[in-house]
Symmetry: C3
Subunit: 285 residues, 3 copies
């Protein structure tokens, strides 16, 4: 049977990134659907389960992306409720690429660190989709995680949301200036930067003399989030810290993304959210 990937997005149109990665993951056909919402998703996915016999449904998969993380997640839940008995196909979520990017980041950190459980970590400017999910995965690995934001309220509401969704205890912190940043990274084993493109969050001379073990920056466009890290840095040691740049993380992210899509076609009853993507990816690194 031809492998069909239904590529859904909460954006007006699915990203060419998600479609081409679907192609490169072995899909024979891509069915793109934009502007997917909770109200129209049933119409879009329901009919596909009646096209093939149960044993052939594994050759149909659904991928959901887009900029709206919350909406993507609630659409994922809605889809679960549409299918019944064996009349189902496998589903993967990766809003903004945040799940696969967070997974790649934390897997690299875990591999570099002797002991992630009990470590102290901070995700600088971590209230966005990627930062949030990095924080969740670090917390699930037993790290004591803080998320910083320029506004405490913003950080608090994100931490509350993550506790509700993933039962993780993440500490919100306000960072208004460089000395706030210096203070918060001082006692951390792991420092991750996940701010907006073009904003430098941490200068080199702030971190080189600290007791930090691992530095990771998910921003590939200069100026980078952490000074002194190169985008290609991959397990590179600088001033006794192991450093990861955004391109190195991005390469693993691509491997993970492709792996998830090809996995969809192995069974008709899989569901990949953040934690399932992380769990599967641990095996391939």
């Amino acid at each position: 049977m031809k492998k069909v990937l239904m590529c859904l997005s909460t954006d007006l149109q699915p990203s060419s990134f998600d479609i081409i990665t679907g192609i490169d993951s072995g899909a024979d056909f891509i069915l793109p659907y934009g502007s997917v919402s909770e109200s129209n998703v049933k119409d879009i996915v329901y009919d596909c389960v009646f096209t093939r016999s149960k044993k052939d449904l594994k050759s149909i998969g659904i991928f959901i992306g887009g900029r709206d993380v919350q909406l993507t997640e609630s659409i994922g839940e809605t889809i679960k409720g549409i299918f019944f008995d064996d009349l189902r196909v496998s589903v993967a979520l990766d809003p903004m690429g945040a799940y696969t990017t967070a997974t790649a980041t934390v897997l690299k950190i875990k591999k570099a660190l002797h002991r992630i459980n009990g470590s102290n970590s901070v995700v600088l400017a971590g209230t966005g989709p990627i930062g949030q999910n990095i924080a969740v995965l670090l917390a699930k690995e037993g790290s004591n995680v803080s998320i910083t934001s320029r506004k405490l309220e913003k950080a608090k509401s994100v931490c509350d949301l993550l506790e509700k969704k993933y039962s993780v205890d993440i500490k919100p912190s306000e960072v208004k200036n460089d000395s706030d940043t210096e203070r918060i990274i001082s006692n951390k084993d792991i420092v991750v930067s996940s701010g907006a493109i073009g904003i430098k969050l941490l200068s080199k001379y702030t971190w080189i003399d600290k007791n930090i073990k691992i530095l990771a920056d998910v921003n590939a466009v200069p100026p980078l989030g952490i000074g002194g890290i190169g985008p290609h840095d991959d397990f590179v040691e600088k001033y006794n810290k192991i450093c990861f740049g955004a391109i190195a993380i991005g390469e693993l992210k691509m491997v993970i993304h492709r792996k998830i899509i090809s996995e969809l076609f192995k069974s008709n009853n899989l569901f990949f959210g953040l934690l399932e993507i992380y769990k599967l990816s641990e095996k391939i690194t």
Copy 2:
């Protein structure tokens, strides 16, 4: 040449059912077009005939589906008028899957019945797309057909429309309660149920002692339209009646749908409406 199926729909987007079935019928490429109307269809289909030499136009086909049966049919007529001389491609209509489902239902009935010509039949709650087309095909086979509705006016207007479109004489009947239903099925050879999902139209104890020869139910979701029939029943005899359930009918419907699409690619001058689909399908059963 690569086989290209232009998959048009009167809905916002073509159904994944129609697209995936197109793929499974041998199309190499699917071009999906949603929100197709009489005003935009010319722009959508006209250009395709200039892409290939006349001998290669048979490798392009047009399928039109969607919930709006009337609009699909008028779009089909409009498309016929767009093409000229040899500059044409083959077209198939199957709004809501009604043509292929009606075809599958009536072909099963015809095969099971010694003599369909001159028989008496009723399509319960037959004013919807599938019921209407079952009634037309039964009438074309020489059966005396009634359509029931809870409102006589509704049934009448459907029968008038079908007479105009297909020159068939179908009798409208009002059915307000179970005793109306019992009366109308009493003298019938064929009883088909095509009501809305989840509405039981006929209980088992109403039909088992009647002189009915064939019972067919096109609803696959419980509660089924006719009590005592299983969705997988396929030429199953119960109380001296031959019974057909919706899944058995649906399996033949899929065979027919795929056959029609693969037929599109054999010539560039075919048009498949209800009667053409029925005629072609008679040969494959």
Copy 3:
């Protein structure tokens, strides 16, 4: 790597012509994007360059078509600005098929004429997309070109625009009636007709006794733009003039269109506007 053609259009949906020609040019996957504008094009194309390694980006191409020539051209410029360093894919523009049709027309003329440089030419009703681009290419070949219109102002504004875009000096002419037309073709070596479908611009008995060397008509639907020319005429001599009909021109146009698309997949840093399409096509005729 699978060859992916992103098929963009300024129209509501990309033309089936452009999509199917993309397929026939060797693309393995087509990603259709309609309603493309300067404001949404970045989101549509940006992500694609991050899906594959630099050496594999040549297997992704972008084609932009649609009715709005100006918008297509400014979108083309916008796309150039989106890409940076090696993170780019090749792009071809062909709004309304005007670039490839103009190229085919002028290449045929050039091949038929002993000396195009210094010749006198007129494009009748040449203010539309195809006529404009034919005029540009003739001017680039050194011909003294006039464009006619029923309104001088219209012709003037087109000539001004073309001078700005292509640094060509094209003369605007008003043609209100048949004697105006006769006057203007009298001293021309080349007469091209590119008016709207169904309007005859030049009757046979007006041109047969003139000193014209080449006649070309890009309109394939009767009544043709120039009386006495058949749509299949291809280097056919009539009354000492070499004649080209629209179907003969269209066949070369198809060859050129397919060539351009297949060329996109040879490198990741090509850009095909009118002049690049013309230059490349000279080699294949």
